[in-house]
Symmetry: C2
Subunit: 245 residues, 2 copies
Amino acid sequence: MMVGKLYGLGVGPGDPELVTLKAHRILQSCKVVAYPAPDEGDSFARSIVETHLPEDVTEICMRVPMRVERFPAQDVYDEGAVEIAEHLKTGRDVAVLCEGDPFFYGSFMYVFERLARDYPCEIVPGVNSLSACASSLARPLTARNDVLTVLPGPLDDNTLRDHINSSDSIAIMKVGRHLPRLRGLLADMGLTAQSGYVERASLPNQVVLPLADAPEKAPYFSMILIYKGQEDWLREWPVAAGGHL
Amino acid sequence: MMVGKLYGLGVGPGDPELVTLKAHRILQSCKVVAYPAPDEGDSFARSIVETHLPEDVTEICMRVPMRVERFPAQDVYDEGAVEIAEHLKTGRDVAVLCEGDPFFYGSFMYVFERLARDYPCEIVPGVNSLSACASSLARPLTARNDVLTVLPGPLDDNTLRDHINSSDSIAIMKVGRHLPRLRGLLADMGLTAQSGYVERASLPNQVVLPLADAPEKAPYFSMILIYKGQEDWLREWPVAAGGHL
């Protein structure tokens, strides 16, 4: 008997229309989908493709407790992988829904590492949060020979400072509760005016602002983009352009 | 009279199925598309969406001569912008086709800077080459608090070395004629075994190999991914996994 195929399915940043034609086609034909969800409440990845799911699809919900980030809930992924494998063994394809892109700071790796040695696997890339936030801010992120660095917000100030100093464009991910500290750091570095803030990119309730006008509190899905390596025409361009374009 | 809207339309890395539903819808409704093309031959961006274009669409082809990269063909973009503006003035929307993502090392910025102050503009993000290549190599690019740096291949060895040393995951773009030098640098740094090579990601003729097995010559659309910041299970995972997954 043929085993099923495991799909790591990038579903994009949030707007259901930013799903690719390929992900959409695979969702139509998959009998089983799996996705992470918080302890309580809905899965963000599932919400993105809710309107694209067949009515009779079997769903595997992996409820991942919020713990310290460096210690993911391995038992949840162990159990999820066992459940996914049961379907693969009987020849059913399983699509694991990944917000953004499967391999860009995602949790899909925890499923992948448990199953990809034993079952055929295909990764379907999605629009990642970097491109989504740059589009929302409506200014070119990188050009020509710019160096772009992507930095998780939880990193310490010295590490962040060194990378920001040596790069032309910088994205700080997972801003969340680190926003006040990050804002202070960028003010110290004289980069506030060159920084933009985005939360919930591409969703109806997205927020796009110059960093100076960012709210006090940021959700987990928020990003700061710092534009250093751009031409003169960009320096004169208001950071808030994205807000009224 | 209402003016038309300028779209910066990300069409993904090459596979026509990696176009988003949104880009697909906009293409169906746009009366005018514009795109860059080389001196002679076809436009890559246009080829990606060829099967999605309406029959009666008006096409604006901006033929960009190959010059030194730091001096783009401003006159070509001047003329293209004038032609695009003529349509916008008469109320027609114009979609500028961008391979990958509009603001991720693309040429769309040259059109954007000429028109976005005067006309309504919407950027539609696409699957960028970073996510496409990571998917082709079939290993997680970044996780948790990894630092990811994107480096254009034409940069000098010292700049590359400093960034590679201080990052967990690294993407080297625009490898092309720099491949022999880059390969030497990564060998010196003891990183050959942790590096993968991808050309023409997601296209039927894509090449996915461990860097050690990369061909002598690389096309412009090629990338090296260096995986340093991964867990033990990844170190034991063969770089060539993408080839047979």
